[in-house]
């Protein structure tokens, strides 16, 4: 699994709903772990309508950079086309801004995106959901930054945002869930903005080492925060244990639960396939951040089973 940063933009007449729909469609390509608000760039001429609407999303995906690019092109086509007999112009742009910390210079695929640093309309939404980019944001001129503002700030109350009465108990529950999700996905910061309830969870960052590499383990590289001086700090990365065979998942007894501390060699579960037990093991110290599956659940190849925060 990799964490890709995706930029979404449109300059069609109905740009905002288009960007919203494209953001929703991203979930077909992986897990959208976070998304920014909609931003409008300052209109060049007169008038109230923004020239461009932009947003960014963090997408956890198993697609390779090239496959992801192809998939985004597919979504562009699916979401950009004007429904007439003629092929309409592409009214939505989807770009890979970065893919883990991969550096790539290939035909049609430059990672990180080659002009990201100078594009306020891409950088501002991205920095909202990924603080790694705050330093880069600081490099922009104040004028460039001020051209990109959240839509609701620019055009005020008539935006689509609904205000509803929020149940306090529900809200606390959502905060807890957001915190857990933030931890399990290895995010620095996680923001939800739904039905008038805005939740922002930030993680304090204890020093940690990288986890053991296990056969069926994958490391989600969390966004490595860039400190003020530009140095990159090491951050804890949860290890995601995935199924490498298709079968029925059985939690080993005693079943691990979220928050459990692990120390040493431990079989967490096994995937039963054609009468064979395929164990899912963990070795070393760690804390179970998430259990993604239930006992007896069918699992497919590559399906995440557990996220574990390794400990020194």
């Amino acid at each position: 699994m990799a964490l890709a940063r995706i930029g979404v933009g449109s300059n069609a007449e109905d740009a905002a709903p288009r960007v919203e729909r494209a953001l929703e469609a991203l979930s077909a390509l992986g897990t959208v772990v976070s998304r920014s608000r909609l931003y409008g760039s300052k209109p060049w001429g007169e008038g109230d309508q923004p020239d461009f609407v932009n947003a960014a999303a963090l997408l956890e995906t198993s697609l390779s950079p090239r496959a992801l690019l192809d998939a985004l092109k597919m979504l562009e086509t699916a979401h950009g086309r004007v429904p007439t007999y003629r092929w309409g112009p592409r009214a939505i742009d989807l770009d890979i801004l970065a893919y883990d910390d991969l550096e790539l210079r290939e035909e049609g695929l430059h990672l990180p995106h080659e002009r990201l640093a100078e594009r306020a309309f891409a950088l501002v939404p991205l920095a909202e959901i990924d603080p790694t980019y705050e330093a880069a944001l600081g490099q922009l001129t104040p004028a460039a930054r001020s051209e990109v503002l959240p839509l609701d700030q620019r055009i005020g109350a008539e935006t689509a945002r609904r205000r509803v009465v929020v149940d306090w108990e529900q809200s606390l529950k959502r905060v807890r869930e957001a915190a857990e999700f933030c931890a399990s996905a290895g995010l620095e910061r996680f923001r939800i903005d739904e039905d008038g309830l805005e939740i922002e969870v930030r993680r304090s960052a204890p020093a940690s080492r990288r986890p053991h590499a296990l056969d069926n383990a994958d490391v989600i590289p969390a966004a490595a925060p860039i400190a003020a001086n530009g140095a990159v700090e090491n951050e804890p990365h949860p290890t995601v244990l995935k199924a490498d065979v298709v079968g029925i998942l059985r939690l080993s007894r005693p079943a691990v639960t979220e928050g459990a501390e692990l120390d040493g060699e431990r079989e967490l579960a096994y995937v039963e396939a054609l009468g064979v037990r395929n164990p899912i093991r963990w070795s070393g110290r760690g804390r179970v951040a998430s259990v993604f599956v239930g006992d007896g659940q069918p699992v497919e190849f590559g399906q995440p089973l557990f996220a574990i925060d390794p400990r020194a």
Partner: protein, 451 residues
């Protein structure tokens, strides 16, 4: 039968999915990580990822595929073509796990899958076969046999396919070298260097006969298909039915021989017997124990659904038609649109299809999984669409195909659409009855330049 797992991808997975849904049977798709965005994943009722992109670890991953069938509660597996379709061991494993393999019995697959064994069986059933040998011991053995049969001869790998492990030998002095290179090629490609030798038939046509049988002993033929337009790799590009410019006597002989052969093999599913036809001579080549890519040609000609029938007979039902119910009407032709560059000897062209416009209209059938934005993964075959045109006459079918190909527009990857159009306009092809070396002499570059 309530739920079928479709152990394939691309257009054939969609084809099977349609037949199953029409029969009210639920479907389970499998896919590799490279095919997550594929249409077959969406069209099935459920889908399971069974491995990474390379086929050996996904579409050929028997444990994960069978496990997916079991956990999804499927009671049958349709293998499509390619991948596991002619793997007798896979058919056995399915049976061991209580899953119905939608295809022939493991015995029929293994007998017919081994070309030398298949020929021996056909010879016993008095099916005409190309004069040839059993498995050769050495190059000297080959030289002796070649002298007896008479040059030219063809060395072939028993495990061969797709033109690999094949060498034409025209003179005694060439035998030793041809033997060594064919053996090395067979060893490298199929891990089986066994070779046999047969008479090389000059300028034959490739004509095959579709058969289908049930478990009650009924076997019918669904006519022949002419597949002589083949790429230099011997892969088919254009198929049509009935075979044009073929004498009625030869046609009847082919049908009769195919029925004899299928009965001898106690065949209980859809299959195809391939023949080389040279003048009035008919030689059995091999039997394909699967549904074939070009099956829609026969479906259009006879108005039957072969995949539906294949599923029904696997579920233990009787064939829904007898031989006398089957009447050919008109003419049907299929063009394979592959992501390949005809100017580069049909090298597979990877990439993303930016635009996909496929033809339609009366008498035109398109079986395809293509859509704009779909990336063609490098791991699998390059077929992206099968365009089939039907007409009251061959003339009308060709004209309809020409129109259909002109409507076809695929941007982003090189395709065979242009060369197919050039072929259906070609005078020699229109006259009918071209032999399997037709494309070798066809100016692909000139054709591609005039799409």
């Amino acid at each position: 039968m309530r739920k079928i797992l479709i152990a394939n991808r691309g257009e054939i997975a969609l084809r099977v999915n349609r037949a199953a849904h029409e029969l009210g049977i639920a479907t389970v798709a499998i896919f590799s990580e490279a095919d997550r965005a594929s249409l077959h994943v969406r069209s099935a009722d459920e889908a399971y990822c069974v491995g990474p992109g390379p086929a050996a670890r996904s579409y050929l991953n028997i444990p994960n595929i069978v496990s997916a069938a079991l956990i999804s509660g499927a009671d049958a597996i349709h293998p499509g073509y390619g991948f596991l379709a002619e793997n007798a061991r896979f058919a056995e494993i399915c049976a061991d796990h209580g899953l119905t393999f939608i295809g022939p019995t493991p015995e029929a697959i293994s007998t017919m899958g081994d070309k030398a064994r298949a020929k021996a069986m056909m010879a016993a059933a008095k099916v005409p076969i190309t004069p040839g040998t059993g498995i050769l011991e050495s190059a000297a053995d080959a030289a002796k046999a070649a002298a007896k049969i008479g040059f030219p001869v063809m060395l072939k790998a028993t495990a061969g396919g797709g033109g690999k492990g094949m060498r034409v030998v025209r003179a005694p002095g060439e035998v030793e070298h041809a033997y060594a290179t064919a053996q090395a090629e067979a060893e490298a490609n199929f891990k089986n260097g066994a070779l046999y030798l047969e008479k090389f038939i000059e300028q034959p046509r490739h004509v095959e006969v579709q058969v289908i049988g049930d478990t009650f002993g009924n076997v019918v033929h669904v006519g022949e298909r002419d597949c002589s337009v083949q790429k230099p790799s011997h892969q088919k590009l254009i198929e049509e039915a009935p075979a044009p410019a073929l004498g009625e006597r030869v046609r009847e002989r082919l049908h009769g021989v195919a029925l004899t052969a299928a009965r001898a093999a106690r065949y209980t599913s859809a299959g195809t017997l391939e023949f080389l036809v040279s003048g009035d001579d008919v030689f059995f080549m091999e039997m394909n124990t699967r549904i074939q890519v070009e099956h829609p040609v026969s479906e259009m000609l006879y108005g039957v659904d072969l995949v539906r029938e294949q599923i029904r007979v696997a579920a233990g039902e009787k064939l829904s038609f007898s031989q006398k119910d089957l009447k050919a009407r008109g003419h049907a032709i299929e063009c394979r649109i592959n992501a390949e560059d005809p100017s580069q000897n049909f090298a597979p062209a990877a990439g993303t299809m930016r635009e996909v416009v496929l033809p339609g209209g009366y008498g035109v059938r398109v079986d395809s999984h293509a859509y704009a934005g779909l990336a063609i993964p490098p791991f699998y075959d390059s077929l992206i669409a099968k365009i089939v045109a039907w007409g009251e006459t061959r003339e009308q079918a060709l004209k309809r195909m020409e129109c259909a190909l002109r409507e076809t527009y695929i941007d982003g990857v090189a395709t065979t659409a242009g060369i197919c159009l050039a072929i259906v306009r070609d005078e020699r092809f229109r006259a009918g009855g071209v032999s399997i070396d037709f494309l070798n002499h066809f100016d692909a570059a000139a054709a591609a330049a005039h799409p």
